[in-house]
Structures are given as structure tokens and as C-alpha cells.
Symmetry: D2
Subunit: 176 residues, 4 copies
């Protein structure tokens, strides 16, 4: 069974801050996921979702967009899931469907996805120094890795692409 | 954008009636969809879903399983959408995500999928003589093709694989 | 625990056909449900939903509107459930939440609600001669009361308010 | 239109920590909401949900339980919404349906509800010193009241029942 990797983070135009500053890292992440043949899932829209999906698509990888109602998504979704649900509800279908979640930057919508991934027992990998809730959430983690005392699953911090690759491999081996 | 084709119909063991009698037609449908490179979507479970998904998978095609909560699905889903929802709710995410729906046999769950596809404006192709609601629904269609006076979209009847192929092509061309 | 009764049927303006012809029967149904103190649930919008909800409200009864995303509903919902979901998905939350469902007239959306109620094991009471799918569905019932061979639950036909009252009482006693 | 107030917080047995320590404050909150005639909504289960619902029920108030699939809820739900969805998805229907949300204690599930309420533009009132994420979230608020730079809606902190009453009144007046 192929590993399903969700990528979450800032939405907004890919030509404006704070998304444009993440272009390079998004492209590296996309290439990495495509090279390993993982199924890449996003919320299907703009921002980090679009940058990563484009990179995966260029490399010939698989992209699944989990879309809110009334949105046809960016142009890089090979598979479109039209959930018929609002932004927040569809975010939970995204994180539940993933085996592991990668987070870059992000506002409250991204925070909701991080929390839901943890609740569903999906490991989250925070890409360090990408801003927003990906960095801010760290100050309130319990033992630097949990969101509550149930310790459902570990939240990891990756400080490089190599680090990210290692954590994804661990998730793939069911070691996380 | 690739055509998303949902296949619906009888659930249950593929070795028992009424599913086993549909093995040959399911394999033909799966091969056809794989050959055209369409994205094949099912409810991800047993019965017609499993037979078609297996055939698509053997041909190297793409299969997406839209799963109800607590079910990991059959072994032929390249992409698994874990909806977190009950059987009926997840059926609607399936039909809404599809551009066109193919129906073979089926009990009340299949009927629900046919009705929802129509409500979402997705053309449904009934494969003639496959039993269940796929055949029974025909007696209550308005003008032999609609489910209400809004005439949202046409329900088609295919009496052969060639006929089916023609209707799918029409859907792909946006002609339906 | 109070009985939860869903009322489904034609949408559209209450001043136009085919809704206006059902005004009297809707008011009788609303009064009956209010008098028994049942929780009345609808899809929260216009048509049969509005007529019944208004009657229940005038009698001091409880009305719950299960709303699709982006719709604030009619003025008679004491409780509003904002599902964040499209019309069809929210219809399933409505029928699943009900203990028994009453149907009057209706297009494809009502048919979807009848089928989903059956799938969830909720008895449906068809009010005879109210038109649309409430009458049309009868010709395809198996043994005049089932939607498939699983015989999940009985679909009833009421030809009068007294008949309806009797079936609701049976549902309340768990006899249906 | 009646004000819909959601109450969220610790789940678990009402006889064990950390729920039992909140019994008194839950009863005060329940009485307050019942006295004002607000519609009280919870996730329908144990813990803070049960304690508040019981208090509202004793006072003759209205309680709506928004239940996950497979759970019939506590005994104090006048209205049961059976969502057919998992715990997290149903939490979003709860917060979206509310006009204002009160939070006491809570693990990751409560955090998810706080974040989703903010995303939906529903004001959240944190009851001070009730533990869990209700207290912990405060350290990461932007300007002591927002969850992101969009400043969608204010998160408030109430240090007494009087304070809580004032904030609810503001929400009712649309001032929040």
C-alpha cells in the first residue's frame, strides 16, 4: 500500500508573501515525495498546496486534491475529491486520509489541520522556520511533541530536507 | 483534466451471488476504463467495487477508494480516501467527485448513489441486465431518463460495452 | 427520550404549486406533531418544510432545521443545525437523526431522503396522494414496503391523518 | 432567533478527575444558560458535556447533543443530532451551529473545537482556571485574543460567572 502524504500550510497567491518565500522549499518537498512515489494529498487550492502539487506533477507524481464545496482547485490535481463540505470539514478528510502530514507556515486553517491530524493519530512533521503555526505550535507542545496527555502520536520537527526524508521513511515503516 | 468515473453496484463477497455472475462484465469495464486512462473511483469495498478495481489495477490503471469510517477497503485502492463518515454519507462524496457514474446491479445503497449522482448533475450509465436497482430504476424514470421534472441530467442505459464506451466518451467531451 | 420526527417533501415557494396545494395537510401534520410533543426536524428551508415548521411553531412545539451550508433557513427553526455541507449530505444527517420520517410530495431530493431513511433503518410514512416521489416510489417497492431484499425497515402508506397518527405511535413504541 | 451556545471541554467520567473538579462551575454555567432560555449545544457525551447538560435539563432548558456515529449520548439530550461522522467531524458541526462557544478544560478534542470555532467566526469564551487547553491556548494567542492575523473573531477570557454572562450577552447582541 502506497504511503499517503498530506502537505498543509499557508494558502494565498503563490506570488505574494508569505507563500512566495516558501517556493524553493515547497519545490524540494514536492520532488522528494514524487521521487519516492508517494501519494501526495493537499487541500487542492492555492499557496503551499499549489506549489507542492505543481512540483509533484512536473516530476510525474500523483496529486490528490481534497476540495471544499464550490471550488475546482488548482491545475495540478490528478485526482479531485469534491467533498461537498466547507473548508474546515474537508480539512479533516484530508488529514484522516493521510498516513503522515507535512506542515509549512500556515494560519488558523493549518492549525486546525495539525490538531486534527494529531487527533486521528497521524504523525505531523513541522518544517522548521517556515513561519506561522508550523513554528508557533512548538511552544505549547507537551514534552516537545504531544498535544495532550493521551500522547496519541508524535509531532516531529524537521530542520532540513534530509531530516524530513528520514521522518517520512519512519512513517512509511510504521515506526513513527 | 482526467475524467473521474465512479463505478457502483452490488456489494458482498465476490464469490457469491449476485456478485459472481457479474465478474466478467466487471472485468471488461475495468479494462476499458484503465485503457482510457480514466481515474476510477469506487466505494472501496467488496462486490462490484472489488472486481472492477482489481481489473483496473491489473491493467496498471488508477483506482481511488472512498471509504466509510472504520473500513480499510479492498487491496486494489491506489488512493484511499478515509472519509470518517458512515456508508451513506461517503457514497455522496463518491458520486459528487465523479464526472460520470456506471451502475451494475445493486441494493438500496446503490439506489442512493444513483439518486445522489442525479442530484449532483452527474450522468449515470445503467448497465442493462445486471440486476437490482440498475434495472429496477428504469420503470420509474420520467421520459425514460430523468428522476424529476428539473431534468438535471440524463440517465442512460447501455446494452453493451461498446455502448458504455460511447456514453463515457460523451461524458468526457462534456456532451452529456 | 422524545421521538424525533423528520418531515420531508416538496421545496419551493409556499405560495406556488405544488406546495400551496399541500398547505392544509401540512398544517394538520404540524399540529399533530406539536400536540404529541415530538421533536420535529426538517431540512429547514421552504416548501413543505416551512409549512409544517410554521404550524408546529404556532402550536408551541419544537422545530429543528438541519441546514445546508450558506442557508440560514426559514423563520420557524427553534434550533438551527448548520451542517457546513451541501444539500444532499445534510439530508442524510436529517434522516439519520430521525426516529421516523413523514413524506409529502417531493422531487429527487425527497427521493434521496426516502432512500437514505430506509438505509438507516428509519421507518418512512408516505402520505398518500401528496404527489411526487411520495406516490411514485410505491410502484417499485418490494412486497409493497421494502426497498431491497435486506428488508431493513418497513415503508408505510398513510391515507389519513388518523392513519399517520397510528404509524407514528407505533414508531414511538418501537413497534415499527 | 434564540442564541445557540455550545459548551465544550474535558470528556471522561463525571466522577473522575479532571471532570469532577469542574462539577460546580458546570452546574453554574448550565443554570445560567437555562435561565436565559438559550439553546445549549454539546457534543452529547460525558464529561463537561454531561454535567452542563444535566444542569440545563434540571432547570427545564433546551439541550441539543451533536453526536458522533455509533454513540447514543448521555441522558440529557432533548434533541439528538446523529451526524454519522467521526468525533472530530461532528465537533465542527457543533461549533459551526453555535453563535458562541464556552470552553472549560479539555484535551486535543477541545482544542480542535476552539480552533474550528475561531475559523467559523464564532466567539469563544475561555473559562479561566478550568485547566487543559482552555488555559494553555492563551499563551499562543496573538494580541491576547486572535488565532491568526486575519483576526476573524475575538477569543475572550472570563474569570467569573458574571464575566461569562456579560460576554454571552454581548454575543447575543451581536456585539462580539
Amino acid at each position: 500500500m502506497m504511503l499517503h502524504v498530506a502537505v498543509i500550510g499557508y494558502s494565498g497567491s503563490i506570488n505574494n508573501s508569505p507563500v512566495k518565500e516558501l517556493r524553493s522549499i515547497c519545490e524540494e518537498v514536492g520532488k522528494l515525495l514524487a521521487r519516492h512515489g508517494h501519494v501526495v494529498m493537499t487541500g487542492g487550492r492555492d499557496g503551499v498546496m499549489e506549489l507542492v502539487s505543481r512540483a509533484v506533477s512536473i516530476e510525474g507524481g500523483r496529486v490528490v486534491g481534497v476540495l471544499p464545496t464550490g471550488d475546482e482547485g488548482n491545475n495540478h490535481n490528478e485526482v479531485r475529491i469534491r467533498t461537498g463540505m466547507d473548508f474546515a470539514l474537508r480539512s479533516l478528510i484530508l488529514t484522516k486520509s493521510a498516513d503522515v502530514v507535512i506542515s509549512m507556515g500556515g494560519q488558523a486553517g493549518t492549525l486546525l489541520e495539525i490538531i486534527s491530524a494529531y487527533s486521528y493519530g497521524r504523525p505531523v512533521i513541522l518544517l522548521e522556520n517556515t513561519g506561522g503555526w508550523t513554528d508557533r505550535i512548538r511552544s505549547v507542545l507537551i514534552d516537545d511533541k504531544y498535544l495532550d496527555e493521551r500522547k496519541t502520536v508524535e509531532i516531529k520537527v524537521a530542520d532540513s530536507i534530509e531530516d524530513l526524508e528520514k521522518f517520512i521513511k519512519e512513517a512509511d515503516n510504521g515506526k513513527v
